[in-house]
């Protein structure tokens, strides 16, 4: 009963969103409406209401964030908006808050581990880079990414050769995906700023 009511309401919402998407002509408005359509699709999955829903939502979120990033980059290149903006807003909060705030977020993300912890820690790192500025130290991120690959392959061999230590392998793989997601997400934070490369 609850499932049927939810399904009817969500189809109504999808109809409204796609009607707006059809009527829209500006490209940036269409990009924003794509985000709305992603949220509505996730509601459709969440209505399944078992552990299967949770297992389906996580890949949906991964695909959604990568889609938004790729489409926004394509849009920026297509509209020739590649140079930095002139007026960058500075808030008073951005001098005092980010150190403690992003420290808490990164610590909590490391405790969670996996893609969830990587996204949370990546948000903290983006916040820190956005507020404090950055000095183009990409080689650290590349090194971390290489170690993450090594950890991943080590976890794979543990699964294959000594399966009785599976918990150790799960922990190594979780740490590796945390490193990789956090490094990739922190690259986004360096894209906004006053220093032109």
């Amino acid at each position: 009963m609850e499932y049927v009511i939810g399904l009817l309401l969500i189809f109504l919402a999808v109809l409204v969103a796609f009607y707006a998407l059809v009527r829209e002509t500006d490209d940036l408005h269409r990009l924003l409406l794509t985000d709305l359509a992603e949220i509505l699709a996730l509601v459709l999955i969440a209505l399944v209401a078992t552990d299967l829903a949770e297992a389906l939502i996580l890949p949906g979120l991964v695909v959604g964030i990568s889609e938004i990033m790729a489409l926004s980059e394509i849009y920026l290149v297509k509209e020739k908006l590649t140079k930095q903006p002139k007026r960058v807003v500075k808030l008073e909060i951005m001098d005092s808050a980010p150190a403690i705030m992003s420290l808490i977020l990164v610590m909590y993300g490391i405790v969670l581990s996996g893609f969830t912890g990587g996204a949370l820690a990546g948000l903290g790192v983006i916040f820190y880079f956005m507020c404090k500025g950055h000095d183009e130290r990409f080689e650290i991120i590349e090194t971390a990414s290489g170690y993450a690959w090594v950890m991943w392959i080590a976890a794979f061999f543990i699964f294959m050769l000594i399966p009785q230590y599976w918990f150790f392998g799960v922990m190594i793989a979780g740490g590796a995906i945390l490193l990789k997601v956090m490094g990739k997400m922190s690259l986004i934070g360096t894209m906004r700023g006053d220093s032109d490369v």
Partner: protein
């Protein structure tokens, strides 16, 4: 029919309608109205006890908001 389910659908419908037809049609208004729909989705996930999905969804919403803000900032600068 838990209270979270009902509340989540009310907020989701408010957010969807207001994001589809924002009143002063600017990019900023539409971005903020999408946040309302995101809160509705979070409450619906809560009513089905999908806690890990909520955590990931909240973090991903923050990151995608930053990506969209970067696009809007450069677009409205010219």
């Amino acid at each position: 029919m838990t209270p979270e389910f009902l509340l989540g659908f009310i907020i989701l419908l408010i957010g969807t309608v207001s994001a589809a037809f924002p009143k002063p049609k600017t990019w900023l208004n539409r971005l903020i109205n999408i946040e309302i729909a995101a809160w509705g989705l979070m409450l619906i996930m809560l009513s089905y006890n999908e806690s890990l999905a909520i955590l990931t969804f909240v973090a991903v919403t923050g990151i995608s908001t930053f990506v969209l803000v970067r696009v809007i900032e450069r677009r409205s600068d010219i």
